[in-house]
């Protein structure tokens, strides 16, 4: 109910918003450094991982205080919720908001950018971005141009998770996966799209069953979509009777699937975070025999970002925080699996030798695949229009089909 409400709210608000460039204060990074001393900055972010919360509340908070005399206030909130909050504030004409920095990407970024909710362009004003990031690698967010309205924060890649004590050699391709599912009825399922991970699963399968991702990169093509998508639905309806609960119901989100896997009801889990399983082993939730794998057809990766709100109450502090999160020091700390295990967005070739070595020496955890394996299998995300269409049609062609 609430979700429907939020969507309706977003639609109404979008309709009532004019696209007008807001008057913006302009600030150089050096001015921001000076101005932000002794202030507080609000960081709105998803708060459902104890590991990530801890990293923000300890490491990031302490370093900001020590180095910049800046106090960090983390506000746990889902991205779709704070984007709606900003929309309402904009409609009501609130100049001085509450959100400084937010953790965002994909559809939420597109919505926020189109409604004029973001401050920018700002990324190219931040020294760490100019020094260490290759702009070409972060030019698009789910096919939508970033145009320096977002700062890259981390990189994540889709992996499958299994317990090597139960499955000795996991399937290496989607064709083999289908066979495995048929041979092990009830032991596999995927979260119901539009869940983030479930949706990524069917996108990968879409690439795999229709001959690769390249054809979709130019933007949405109705004819191509109608020609290709039936192959995806055929695969999914074929495996449906062999899924958990005979495919009559699906886990409502990735958390629900994660719990089924933890309780041993299904034998495979998936995650849009390559180090998730290693983190779970460190937490003591997964046995030490858990491993991850990718399909030879490829594993989707994406970049997630931070952005600054157009009505940020502490713009200076926001710039300092966003810059700090891109510093080699913070990126290195974030990359360690006990802190988070999130991959860096920095260009290794631009880093100083010692930092490069430190990244190379990181122990990513035994359940995380080696970097070169992940890189070799990486395929980019699909443009957002395909994503929405696939999610909607999944309900029609798979869920409701008897």
């Amino acid at each position: 109910m609430k979700k429907v409400g939020f969507v309706l709210l977003a639609v109404f608000l979008l309709l009532s918003c004019q696209q007008k460039a807001p008057e913006q204060q302009s600030l150089s990074y050096d001015q921001a450094l000076e101005k932000s001393r002794g202030t507080t900055v609000n960081f709105y972010m998803w708060g459902g991982s104890a590991t990530i919360n801890k990293w923000i509340n300890s490491y990031v908070t302490n370093r900001l205080k020590e180095v910049y005399d800046l106090t960090l206030n983390m506000v746990p909130m889902d991205a779709s919720v704070f984007v709606n909050k900003l929309l309402t504030e904009k409609q009501a004409g609130k100049k001085n908001g509450t959100v400084d920095v937010m953790w965002i990407n994909g559809e939420n970024f597109k919505n926020a950018r189109e409604a004029g909710l973001l401050y920018g362009p700002v990324a190219d004003k931040l020294p760490n971005f100019n020094k260490y990031v290759d702009p070409a690698t972060v030019a698009f967010d789910f096919g939508f141009p970033v145009e320096n309205y977002e700062m890259p924060y981390g990189r994540a890649q889709f992996v499958f998770i299994h317990d090597s004590a139960k499955i000795i050699s996991p399937p290496e391709s989607f064709a083999a996966l289908k066979q495995w599912i048929i041979n092990h009825p009830g032991k596999f399922t995927y979260p119901q799209p539009p869940d983030f991970t479930g949706s990524a699963f069917i996108r990968q399968l879409f690439y795999a069953t229709t001959g690769g991702h390249e054809q979709y990169m130019k933007g949405f093509d109705e004819k191509l979509y109608l020609e290709k998508s039936p192959q995806l639905w055929a695969y999914l309806t074929e495996i449906k009777p062999y899924l958990w609960q005979k495919g009559e119901v699906y886990p409502k989100d990735i958390a629900a699937l994660g719990l089924l896997f933890e309780r041993g009801e299904v034998d495979m889990n998936m995650s849009y975070h390559q180090a998730y399983a290693s983190g779970k082993i460190i937490e003591g939730k997964y046995p030490h025999s858990v491993r991850t794998f990718v399909m030879k057809e490829g594993a989707i990766y994406n970049t997630h970002f931070t952005a600054i709100a157009h009505n940020a109450p502490n713009l200076a502090g926001a710039m300092v925080l966003a810059d700090f999160l891109m510093s080699p020091e913070a990126q290195l700390s974030k990359n360690a699996p006990e802190n988070w295990g999130d991959f860096t967005v920095l260009d290794m070739e631009k880093l100083e030798g010692s930092i490069q070595q430190a990244f190379g020496a990181l122990d990513l955890g035994k359940a995380t695949l080696p970097l070169d394996v992940l890189n070799r299998h990486g395929v980019p995300e699909i443009p957002a229009a395909y994503l929405t269409r696939l999610e909607n049609d999944w309900a029609r062609f798979v869920l409701e089909k008897k």
Binding site: A50, T98, A255, G258, E262, Y286, P287
Partner: protein, 260 residues
């Protein structure tokens, strides 16, 4: 007698068993089918509590604060209408009564969105006061219902008698009505407090994250796979109202002893 005992045991089971599961989950590491008890035990939840004690405390006390203010506000809104509705008969009384109950019956979305815009313009959004106000508007019907029943138990002659003896309206309220309304007030306050303390959506919408709330802190964990932390935090969540009600009970008993 034996039958009675069985019922008591059954009742305790119904209420304690879910809590027991929460306790088990708080300590559990791996817990997979077909184990009845967790396969591994760890104290990660408690380490998290210790490391994040100040955060947790800030969120709980903020929730407690706005809930108490919401209770007080709901008493303020409800006292006069409750007196009026319990003593007078007039045409359309039923309609007025049901209209006054509307906020508890209507879906929250319908009025909260409009109120949010209004609050932003008035500068009440993102403030503790705004949150307390919206929560009191949403939950006062429970107080109103309780107070209407409470007023019905006060014999009108008692008020007349006090007036004859020279008491003013304030004195009547303070010395006659409030003491006699205490049971109704306690019942109403308990419900309003619980509704306010456990509300997630309104606090999030109006408080916008600037007003820390414990439900807001808890919610992401309930939505994640980390059931150990979610269970531990839920147990903490229960402690606050239980403590409050215990304190309330003890104080009330003391008051009654003094008066009787």
């Amino acid at each position: 007698m034996k039958n009675h005992k069985l019922k008591v045991i059954l009742l305790w089971m119904i209420f304690l068993f879910p809590l027991l599961v929460l306790v088990l989950y708080s300590f559990s590491g791996q817990w997979a089918f077909p184990s009845l008890l967790p396969d591994t035990i760890n104290f990660r939840t408690f380490i998290y509590f210790k490391e994040n004690a100040s955060q947790i405390f800030i969120h709980i006390s903020s929730s407690f604060l706005y809930s108490i203010v919401a209770v007080i506000l709901s008493v303020v809104y409800s006292l006069l209408p409750a007196e009026f509705l319990s003593r007078r008969e007039f045409a359309g009384k039923k309609i007025i009564e049901s209209l006054l109950l509307a906020p508890a019956v209507l879906p929250v979305m319908t009025f909260s969105i409009g109120v949010h815009l209004m609050f932003i313009r008035l500068g009440l959004a993102d403030s503790h006061l705004g949150v307390a106000l919206i929560l009191s508007v949403y939950s006062y019907p429970y107080m109103l219902r309780a107070l209407i029943s409470g007023y019905k138990t006060i014999h009108p002659d008692a008020v007349v008698c006090a007036r004859n003896l020279g008491a003013g309206p304030l004195q009547i309220l303070w010395e006659i009505e409030i003491p006699m309304l205490l049971p109704a007030l306690t019942a109403g306050s308990s419900i309003v407090f619980l509704v306010a303390f456990s509300d997630y959506f309104l606090v999030f919408l109006i408080g916008g994250g600037s007003v820390p709330s414990y439900s807001g802190y808890l919610f992401p964990f309930l939505n994640s796979t980390d059931w150990s932390l979610a269970s531990g935090l839920t147990l903490l969540f229960i402690i606050v109202p239980v403590l409050l009600f215990a304190v309330l009970d003890v104080t009330l008993i003391r008051f009654y002893r003094k008066w009787l």
